[in-house]
């Protein structure tokens, strides 16, 4: 009898885990932190991949086929997720939009159409780049994991509390160490950073893309070069998946510093967890601006 109980326990630990698939590595990292050894988690998009465009591969559908929960970013960032979920033929999967509890930025008013480029109707979807939103995402993930496996609710609650505590500590630390970044002006390649800039007090002056998703034109580059010279802008920051070609060209004309930032967990060396994502980006920016940090 004892042997049977041990075998059952072992089997339930091996095969009874909550199977989770996420759209991005940021969500996957938070799921892993909250779920611990009670979950298996896979991200569809890689960290260094543009989450707007993910080719819909049948192998992704295969990953979702036996999943219990799918966490998506929402706000039309990962529209591709719907086709993957449909193609999986998984009738029982719980599809969770992680943007539901988020205070959204840049919600367009009036008519939204292709003249505005790749604009998102429900607001800027890069909300995970505000650490406070990380706490909101984690709370939602804990709730959904608890629904899927109520018997592990204590573990999920404990891990959520630990995650919040760790993030709160990190936030306090960043606010002290990187205070000198506040008010610094910079140019981004794509508008992925309003939540990040807003939280850490950075001032976004321009984007290299004339409209979201549109390749910079010569006229736009000329305008950027003039703006850098007139406003004494020191840094151009781009997502890790963009080519260096355009920022380097502008740097050759103006002397501006160009850096790449990690837009997601795993995008760059050092950004190997949700908390380290911010740490990595803040260090890169403080070095680029030449401000002190410990």
């Amino acid at each position: 009898m004892k042997k049977q109980i041990i075998l059952f326990t072992l089997l339930s630990f091996c095969f009874g885990k909550v199977r989770v698939v996420t759209s991005t590595t940021d969500l996957a990292d938070i799921v892993k932190t909250i779920g611990g050894d009670r979950v298996t988690v896979t991200s569809i998009a890689r960290g260094n991949q543009d989450p707007h465009y993910v080719e819909i591969l049948p192998s992704y559908m295969f990953k979702v086929k036996k999943a219990d929960i799918y966490f998506m970013v929402g706000m039309e960032l990962d529209l591709w997720a719907k086709s993957i979920i449909d193609g999986s033929r998984n009738r029982h999967i719980d599809v969770v939009d992680c943007s539901i509890e988020i205070e959204k930025m840049e919600i367009p008013t009036g008519t939204v159409d292709a003249r505005m480029g790749d604009i998102h109707r429900f607001g800027n979807p890069h909300y995970w780049l505000d650490p406070k939103n990380g706490k909101r995402i984690a709370k939602l993930i804990a709730e959904k994991l608890t629904n899927a496996e109520p018997k592990s609710s204590d573990l999920f609650r404990k891990n959520l509390d630990a995650f919040n505590l760790q993030l709160d500590k990190a936030i306090l630390d960043w606010e002290k160490r990187f205070v000198n970044l506040q008010g610094k002006k910079l140019i981004y390649y794509h508008n992925s950073w309003p939540y990040f800039s807003n939280y850490f007090g950075l001032e976004t002056v321009e984007f290299l893309e004339p409209k979201p998703g549109i390749t910079p034109s010569p006229a736009k580059l000329n305008h950027i070069i003039q703006r850098i010279k007139s406003d004494d802008i020191m840094v151009i920051a781009s997502e890790s998946y963009f080519s260096d070609r355009v920022p380097k060209f502008i740097a050759s004309k103006t002397g501006v510093k160009t850096v790449k930032l990690a837009q997601s967990v795993g995008a760059m060396e050092g950004a190997d967890s949700y908390i380290h994502l911010f740490e990595t980006n803040l260090k890169i920016l403080s070095q680029a601006f030449g401000v002190e940090h410990d």
Partner: protein, 356 residues
């Protein structure tokens, strides 16, 4: 009646375009310029109207209408309901008029191709706009440890009832007593039902290398074909990819009556091989070899082409250029020409000219 239906769809698309529960409404249009033997020609294949949306949490409906750039009426290309997550044991279902899961490219609309024109050999079998029929198709995700899908379909019309760009019978040696292909004749007498089947597999070699392959089979009262296809894709990042894709079909044209073959069969072997390289966000370039061969008639052709694509922003507009050899039968002579084609495709809405 169809025009009223289209009008209603367009009106409702516009009316509900700002609501959350609307179907997605798209239009794809094009302009084609081609030059064959110093005769430049401007044309358009008209517009394709796509209305797509969820019927309920488990089923989707897709309607595609095509208005050719002439006096012909609006054509219903597809109107299909797809049940993807509503059935147990990994089963899916498509019902209505649609393009069966048959070969690698039959399911794709022409504007999704990087190479402008459908491969001639394949279109001799499936029709210039490929095979779409009214019927039912059951799909099953098999319990193999990789993505493996088996599709079986039953349809009310066969491949000969569709527009074939160049009729296969044009190429057959009619003096050969043993060879018979009756094209459109005796249509009323025929039981124009057809079965199709396809088994496809998709394997991740690693994060950036993928390989898929499949086998297909089709049969109706008279004709049958079997085919095999493969696609290899290397995609290290968003804007860079290499695709190698090929497909081969062996098509038995012979008559069948009472389920018995009564004439020796003419066999058409058709296929293509393409290599497409996307080297940055906007540009791609590729080569394609298009092959077909009638066994008894002893006619074959191998036509190479190169193609270039440019999509300036978000793939809502794509410019393509193709330079390739085409085979023409002119006054009994089988001649080959160089043809240059340029195509501008634009789209409104989520149904794009090219799919990522």
């Amino acid at each position: 009646m169809l025009q009223k239906l289209v009008g209603g769809l367009i009106f409702s698309g516009i009316l509900f375009s700002q609501t959350m529960a609307n179907p997605q409404f798209s239009i794809v249009g094009d302009l084609v310029m081609d030059q064959l033997q110093k005769d430049p020609n401007l044309s358009s294949s008209g517009i394709e109207i796509a209305v797509q949306g969820y019927v309920n949490p488990f089923a989707r409906a897709d309607v595609y209408l095509h208005k050719h750039n002439d006096d012909s009426p609006i054509e219903l290309e597809e109107a299909v309901i797809t049940v993807e997550r509503g059935l147990p044991f990994g089963f899916g279902l498509r019902a209505g008029k649609f393009r069966p899961d048959l070969g690698k490219i039959n399911k794709d609309h022409v504007h999704l191709f990087p190479f402008i024109e459908a491969p001639k050999g394949i279109s001799m079998v499936l029709g210039e706009e490929f095979y779409a029929a009214t019927g039912l198709e059951v799909n099953w995700l098999t319990p193999l440890p990789w993505y493996s899908n088996l599709s079986v379909g039953y349809f009310n019309s066969d491949i000969s009832s569709h527009d074939h760009g160049e009729d296969v019978s044009d190429h057959i040696d009619h003096d050969h007593d043993d060879v018979h292909f009756d094209g459109e004749q005796d249509n009323e007498e025929k039981q124009a039902t057809a079965f199709s089947a396809r088994w496809s597999h998709f394997i991740d070699l690693n994060e950036v290398n993928h390989f898929e392959f499949g086998t297909s089979y089709y049969t109706d009262y008279e004709k049958s074909f079997g085919g095999a296809d493969f696609k290899y894709k290397w995609r290290p990042n968003k804007y860079r990819s290499l695709t190698i894709q090929g497909e081969m079909i062996q098509f038995e044209l012979g008559d069948k009556h009472e389920e018995k073959t009564v004439h020796p069969k003419e066999v058409l072997t058709a296929g293509y091989l393409l290599v497409n390289f996307q080297f940055n966000k906007a540009w791609n370039v590729g080569v394609m070899g298009d092959y077909w061969d009638f066994d008894l008639a002893d006619i074959y052709s191998m036509d190479p082409s190169i193609f270039i694509g440019f999509s300036p922003a978000e793939e809502s507009a794509v410019l393509r250029i193709r330079i390739g050899q085409v085979a023409n039968d002119h006054e009994g002579h089988h001649e080959k020409y160089l043809k240059t084609t340029a195509q501008l495709i634009w789209s409104l809405g989520p149904h794009k000219p090219h799919r990522y």
